[in-house]
C-alpha cells in the first residue's frame, strides 16, 4: 500500500511494469520489490526444494526469496533480486520455480513429503537399480532443482572491464562511508566512494533520522554535492565491491544499464572494475537477521528494517496490519515509525521481559511468536505470552528483528575470520583481516548514527594518517540486545529460506555427526544459497552451539568467499569474449590470402593461410596441387610468424653455445646453422635456424608456437643464469615480413627480385646476407623446410603486403604460386623435417636421431639431465618413417598406435604412435612419422598401425624418417 507524504520516489514519473503477465504501476525511484508491495503483492516466488510460497523479506541485496527473471528472449536475466532491481517503464518480470503458476505449483507436493526429504536424504537412496540414476532419478532431481532459467542463447551484450587507482576506497555510502570519503577528500587524497545502491546514503534513506539538524537524505545530498565537486573524488553508485584480493586489489561491479529499458549503443551492460586501493574503509553496513519460528517463511514475514526501508524510502507500507517480533530496540523503532505513519501495528512482541519502550499499541513483553499462519500470505500469528497462554494476533505483515550482523564478508575474503562481539551478539571484522582495510560504522558493529559518522571519519583518518574532520550531530543511542534465535516447537522453523533449511535440518546434521560447521553447511546446504548465508549463518551457528554445548565463536563461522553478491560471468570476462577472447595476429600476407580465398588455421595467436583453394578444390586437392607445385616449379609461403630474435653483443657466440646443444661460436659470418635447444630437464624445447650476420650479431629463428617461450627462456638464461655474459636480444618478428620461396625455380624467382648475385658461389645452401629486394633493403637466407632449393626473403614489414604480391605474381608467371600450411606440412614430412608434432615436449634429442647434436665439447642447458637413463635406451620410442605396404591404404593418421605383426592389441604390447601423417602426392601414397620403440634398430620391419578411433589397421614398413631426396642434392643444387 502506497502512503502519501513518505518516500523519495518521483511521483511525477509514473511507470508501468509487468509481473507474471499482469500490468502494474510504480514510480521512478522504486525498486521492483517496492512497486510490488505498493501493489499489495506478497507472493512472489517459490522455494528451491519444497516449493513453498515465499514473499519479499528484505529491501537489499541479501534478499533470499524475491528472485525473478527480468526481460524476455535471449536477454532474459534470471535470478534477479527484485529488491535491488530498479523499476523502469516496460520492465517485464516473471516469477521462477513454479508450475503451472505461482499460486498453484504442483511441485508443492514436496512440502507434504518433507518428512522424507530432510537434510541429506538423497545420500541414502536412489542407489537401486544402478543404471537408473542417470536415466530417471537424476533428471527428475535436476528438473526440480535450479531457480531461474538461462535463455540458452547468446544475448550479444557486452560488458566492460577496467582498472582504477586510489589512495582511499570507501565501500558503502551510509553515514560512516560518507564521513570517511569526506575525510579523505578534504585532505586532497584520491578517493573512490562505491555504493551498491542506486542512491547514496545507506540507511539514512531508510530512517526518520536527522543529521546536523537536517533530514538524513538532505544531509546526504549536501555531502554528495561537496564530494562531486572535488576533482580527486570518484563517486560510484550502483557499484558493488565484490571481492577483496591481495595487495589492496578489489573487484567491483558497476551496473551501467541494468536500470534501463535498453542498452545504449556502444555502452556496456556493466563494468567490472579492478581497484588498486592504497587504503580501504569498509562501511558496508549490517544485515538484520531473522528469528526462527514455525512457518516463519510465510509471505509477509520481513526484516523489521526492511519495513522501515519501504516506508521511508519508497512510501510503501508492506501491510495494513503489521505485527513486530523483536529481541532488540530496532523492532520497536519500526513499530514507532509505522504508528507515526498511520499504519496499524497490531502488536509488538519482545521476548525480553522488560524494555524502556512504550508505544500506543499492544505490547507483549516476554512473549514469542510460535507460528505464522496463511499459506500464500500471512493472515495472523500465534503468540505465546509469558504466562504460556497462546493467542492469535492479526497481521498481514510481521516485522522481525533478531539483531544485526555487521557486513563482515569482504574481511573474510582473504581467509580472515571475524571475532564474536558479546555486546551486539554478532561477528565483527577482525582488524587486519584484509591488510590496509579498516571497518567502520555498522559494518564494525557501531549501530548508532552518530557512532557511524564518528567511526567513518576516524577510520579514514587512521587509514590515511591524517586528522579526522568534525562530526555532525545525530542520534547516538546505545544498542541493546538479548540474543534470541529460535522459538522451540513443532513444525519447521526456517533458517535459510531459499534452500529450505530449517532448524530440524541442523538438528539432523548434529544427530548424524555433521557437527563441524563445514559439515553442517555441506550436509544441509545451509548458507549455500544465493545470499551465501547472509541471513542464515549466525542463526544456524547459534542452534549448533546449543546442541553441542559450546559458545557460538567456538562453533566457528563458515568462510565467506568472493563475490559479495553474485556477478555475471560475462561481467568478469568483459570484452575478451567470443572471438575477441585473445588478440588476432595477422601476417603481412593476410589481405592477399583472404583475397585468394584462403582457409586459415591457428598457430599461437596467428592466423596462417592453410590452403588456397581453386574453384572446385577441396582442401586435399588444393594441398596436393600446392605440394606438387613446389616440387615442380616454385611456391611462396608467408613464414613471418616464425619467431625471429636479434642477438648482439661481445658474448653472443658464447651465449648461443650455452643455449643450443650444438656449436654456434664456430659458425661463419654469412652462414646459417640448424640448432636444437633443450629444456634444463633434458627434453627438446625447440629447434630452428640461426644466422650469423656479423661477428657479434646473430638472428635466431624459433618455431611459431614456441617464439614467446624461447624469448623468455633466453632472458632467463641471460639475466638469471649468466648475467656476466654481455649480450642483448630483442624480438624482430614483427619488424620483418619473411617469405619462403621454394622449388626448382626458386632461384629464378629470387633473381628477379633480389639485386645481388644469388649464385651458389655467393649464396650457397645455408648462406645468408643483406640484399636489396625490389629496391628495398632486405635479408636473404638460403634455407629450406621443403627439401627443395629454397630461400627465405625478408623485407621491413611495411613492404610485406607488396612483396607478397610481387612474389606471388612472379611465381605464378613461373607456373607456381602461393602455398599454405597444409602443403608446407606435407613437404616437410616428405623431406623428414620435424615440427612440434614430433618435438612435443616429451621427446629427447636421441629420440629424433639428433643425439649427436648434443655437443660433447661443452655444457649447454639440459645436457646433464638429458643423460638420465630414462631418456635413453631401447625402451624409448624413436622417430621412424612409415610406408604402407599397400600404396592405396587410406588409413594412416596421426594418433594411431603401433604394434608388432603378431602381437595381441593391449596396452602392454603397445609399441608407439604416429606423430604426423599425410598423403604424399610426390609418392602417390600416404606416409607417416612415428615414434616406435627402439625404432632406429627396426628399419625394414613391418608393423601394424592400429587406429581404434576409426576401426582401422594398416601394415607399414618401418623406414628412415626421410622419404624425399635423402642425399640432399635438391637443397644444394
Amino acid at each position: 500500500m502506497r502512503l502519501q507524504g513518505f518516500g523519495q520516489i518521483d511521483r511525477s514519473s509514473p511507470v508501468r511494469f509487468e509481473f507474471d503477465g499482469r500490468s502494474y504501476g510504480g514510480f521512478a525511484g522504486d525498486t521492483l520489490a517496492s512497486a510490488l508491495l505498493a501493489n499489495d503483492i506478497r507472493l512472489i516466488g517459490r522455494s528451491f526444494k519444497y516449493h513453498r510460497p515465499r514473499g519479499i523479506v528484505t529491501a537489499g541485496s541479501e534478499e533470499p526469496n524475491a528472485l525473478m527473471t527480468i526481460g524476455q528472449g535471449a536477454a532474459a536475466n534470471p535470478n534477479t533480486r527484485a529488491t535491488t532491481q530498479e523499476l523502469y517503464d516496460g520492465l517485464v518480470a516473471r516469477s521462477q520455480n513454479a508450475w503451472p503458476s505461482l499460486g498453484l505449483d504442483v511441485m508443492e507436493v514436496n512440502d507434504l513429503l518433507a518428512p522424507f526429504l530432510g537434510a541429506g536424504f538423497y545420500y541414502k537412496t536412489f542407489m537401486w537399480p544402478k543404471a537408473i540414476w542417470e536415466k530417471l532419478y537424476e533428471p527428475v532431481i535436476r528438473h526440480a532443482a535450479g531457480l531461474g532459467a538461462l535463455s540458452g542463447q547468446d544475448d550479444g551484450q557486452s560488458y566492460d572491464t577496467g582498472f582504477l587507482h586510489c589512495d582511499l576506497l570507501v565501500i558503502g555510502s551510509g553515514p560512516a562511508g560518507l564521513m570517511a570519503a569526506l575525510t579523505g577528500a578534504r585532505a586532497g587524497k584520491r578517493v573512490i566512494l562505491a555504493e551498491e545502491d542506486f542512491a547514496f546514503g545507506g540507511r539514512l534513506n531508510a530512517e526518520a533520522e536527522e543529521v546536523a539538524g537536517q533530514p538524513g537524505p538532505a544531509w546526504v545530498a549536501s555531502v554528495i554535492a561537496e564530494l562531486a565537486a572535488a576533482p580527486n573524488v570518484r563517486l560510484m553508485r550502483r557499484t558493488t565491491v565484490t571481492g577483496a584480493y591481495d595487495g589492496g586489489t578489489f573487484g567491483a561491479l558497476e551496473q551501467v544499464a541494468e536500470h534501463l529499458p535498453s542498452l545504449p549503443q556502444g555502452a556496456p551492460r556493466a563494468t567490472f572494475w579492478r581497484i588498486a586501493a592504497g587504503r580501504t574503509v569498509l562501511a558496508g553496513g549490517a544485515h538484520e537477521r531473522m528469528i526462527a519460528f514455525r512457518d516463519n517463511d510465510r509471505p509477509g514475514v520481513m526484516q523489521a528494517s526492511a519495513v522501515r526501508s519501504y516506508l521511508h524510502r519508497y512510501g510503501v507500507a508492506p501491510g495494513r496490519k503489521v505485527a513486530v517480533f523483536t529481541n532488540n530496540d530496532d523492532g520497536w523503532r519500526t513499530a514507532a515509525d509505522l504508528i507515526a505513519a498511520g499504519v496499524t501495528v497490531t502488536a509488538v512482541i519482545d521476548p525480553r521481559a522488560h524494555t524502556q519502550h512504550d508505544l500506543p499499541c499492544r505490547m507483549i513483553h516476554g512473549g514469542v511468536v510460535t507460528r505464522a499462519h496463511g499459506r500464500l500470505g500471512l493472515d495472523n500469528i500465534t503468540v505465546r505470552k509469558p504466562d504460556g497462554a497462546e493467542i492469535k494476533v492479526d497481521a498481514d505483515c510481521l516485522a522481525v528483528s533478531g539483531g544485526w550482523n555487521p557486513s563482515v564478508h569482504l574481511t573474510c575474503h582473504m581467509n580472515g575470520r571475524p571475532d564474536w562481539s558479546e555486546d551486539i551478539a554478532a561477528f565483527v571484522p577482525r582488524p587486519g583481516a584484509v591488510p590496509g582495510l579498516i571497518a567502520a560504522g555498522a559494518a564494525n558493529g557501531m549501530f548508532s548514527t552518530h557512532g557511524a559518522l564518528r567511526s567513518g571519519a576516524q577510520a579514514a583518518a587512521e587509514a590515511l594518517d591524517i586528522k579526522p574532520i568534525k562530526v555532525p550531530q545525530a542520534e547516538d543511542a546505545t544498542f541493546e540486545i538479548t540474543p534470541f534465535w529460535h522459538v522451540e516447537g513443532p513444525g519447521r522453523a526456517f533458517l535459510d529460506p531459499q534452500n529450505d533449511v530449517s532448524v530440524k535440518d541442523v538438528k539432523a546434521a548434529h544427530q548424524e555427526n555433521f557437527r563441524s560447521v563445514e559439515h553442517m553447511k555441506r550436509y544441509t546446504t545451509l548458507g549455500m544459497a544465493t545470499d551465501q548465508g547472509k541471513l542464515s549463518n549466525v542463526g544456524a551457528l547459534a542452534i549448533m552451539a546449543r546442541l553441542t554445548g559450546r559458545d557460538i565463536p567456538e562453533v566457528g563461522t563458515t568462510t565467506f568467499r568472493p563475490p559479495y553478491t553474485p556477478v555475471p560471468i560475462a561481467a568478469f570476462a568483459g570484452r575478451a569474449a567470443r572471438d575477441t577472447f585473445r588478440p588476432h595476429r595477422l601476417t603481412p600476407s593476410d589481405a592477399l590470402s583472404r583475397e585468394r580465398g584462403a582457409e586459415f588455421i591457428e598457430a599461437g595467436l596467428w592466423h596462417r593461410a592453410a590452403w588456397f583453394p581453386q574453384p572446385g578444390e577441396d582442401w586435399l586437392a588444393a594441398c596436393n596441387r600446392e605440394t606438387t607445385m613446389v616440387r615442380e616449379t616454385v611456391g611462396v609461403a608467408d613464414v613471418t610468424t616464425l619467431g625471429k630474435i636479434d642477438i648482439q653483443g661481445p658474448d653472443a657466440a658464447v651465449f648461443l653455445d650455452r643455449v643450443y646443444t650444438n656449436m654456434f661460436s664456430t659458425l661463419k659470418v654469412g652462414r646459417v646453422r640448424y640448432g636444437l635447444m633443450l629444456r634444463e630437464d633434458g627434453f627438446v624445447m625447440d629447434d630452428g635456424t640461426c644466422a650469423r650476420l656479423g661477428d657479434q650479431h646473430y638472428v635466431m629463428t624459433t618455431t611459431t608456437a614456441a617464439a614467446g617461450q624461447v624469448m623468455v627462456h633466453l632472458q632467463f638464461c641471460q639475466q638469471v643464469l649468466w648475467p656476466e655474459l654481455d649480450v642483448r636480444f630483442i624480438s624482430v618478428t614483427d619488424q620483418w615480413a619473411q617469405f619462403a620461396v621454394a622449388g626448382p625455380k626458386a632461384r629464378d624467382l629470387i633473381r628477379d627480385v633480389v639485386a645481388e648475385d644469388v649464385s651458389d658461389e655467393s649464396f650457397p645452401y645455408m648462406g645468408c646476407g643483406a640484399v636489396t629486394v625490389l629496391g628495398v633493403p632486405g635479408r636473404l637466407f638460403r634455407i629450406s623446410f621443403s627439401g627443395e632449393h629454397a630461400y627465405e626473403v625478408a623485407v621491413p614489414a611495411r613492404y610485406g603486403d607488396a612483396l607478397a604480391r610481387a612474389l606471388t605474381e612472379r611465381a605464378e608467371a613461373l607456373g607456381g604460386g602461393l602455398y599454405g600450411m597444409e602443403a608446407l606440412n606435407v613437404l616437410r614430412i616428405e623431406k623428414g623435417y620435424i615440427t612440434h608434432a614430433e618435438i612435443d615436449g616429451r621427446v629427447t634429442a636421441d629420440d629424433i636421431g639428433m643425439g649427436r647434436m648434443v655437443s660433447a665439447k661443452k655444457d649447454c642447458v639440459g645436457k646433464v639431465m638429458s643423460e638420465r637413463p630414462g631418456l635413453h635406451g631401447p625402451e624409448r620410442c624413436q622417430l621412424v618413417g612409415l610406408r604402407p605396404l599397400n600404396p592405396d591404404a587410406a588409413a594412416l593418421h596421426a594418433g594411431a598406435h603401433l604394434f608388432a605383426l603378431k602381437a595381441e592389441i593391449t596396452p602392454d604390447t603397445d609399441q608407439g604412435w604416429l606423430s604426423s601423417a599425410c598423403y604424399s602426392p610426390t609418392f602417390g601414397h600416404r606416409i607417416a612419422y612415428a615414434f616406435l620403440k627402439n625404432g632406429r634398430a627396426r628399419h625394414g620391419e613391418t608393423v601394424r598401425v592400429v587406429d581404434r578411433t576409426k576401426g582401422t589397421e594398416t601394415l607399414c614398413d618401418v623406414t628412415a624418417p626421410m622419404f624425399y631426396d635423402q642425399e640432399g642434392g635438391k637443397l644444394r643444387g
Partner: protein
C-alpha cells in the same frame, strides 16, 4: 596481487609470469647437483624466494620474497642484481 617492479613500480600481477623457486639462480657446476636443482623444492608455507618475469613490462627477471600463506610481498629485486 601487486608486485613492485624495481624498474616499473607497483604493477598488477597480471603483467608477470611465475617461474618457481629462486634456487634456479644457482645452476650447478657439476652433474651431481642437477637432479636437486631441477626437481627438489623446499616449497615452504611462509616466506619464499621465487622468480617472476615481468613479461608485459620491462622484461626483467625478478627475485621476489613472498609469503605463500598470506601472499604478502616482502621484497622485490632484479634477479641479476640479487644474485650474489
Amino acid at each position: 596481487m601487486r608486485l613492485t617492479c624495481p624498474l616499473c613500480g607497483p604493477r598488477d600481477v597480471r603483467e608477470f609470469s611465475y617461474r618457481g623457486d629462486a634456487v634456479l639462480t644457482d645452476r650447478p657446476t657439476t652433474p651431481e647437483g642437477f637432479h636437486d636443482y631441477v626437481h627438489i623444492r623446499e616449497n615452504p608455507a611462509g616466506p619464499h624466494d621465487e622468480l617472476w618475469h615481468h613479461g608485459a613490462g620491462c622484461g626483467g627477471w625478478l627475485k621476489v620474497r613472498r609469503d605463500t600463506v598470506t601472499h604478502e610481498v616482502l621484497s622485490v629485486a632484479l634477479a641479476r642484481e640479487a644474485r650474489s
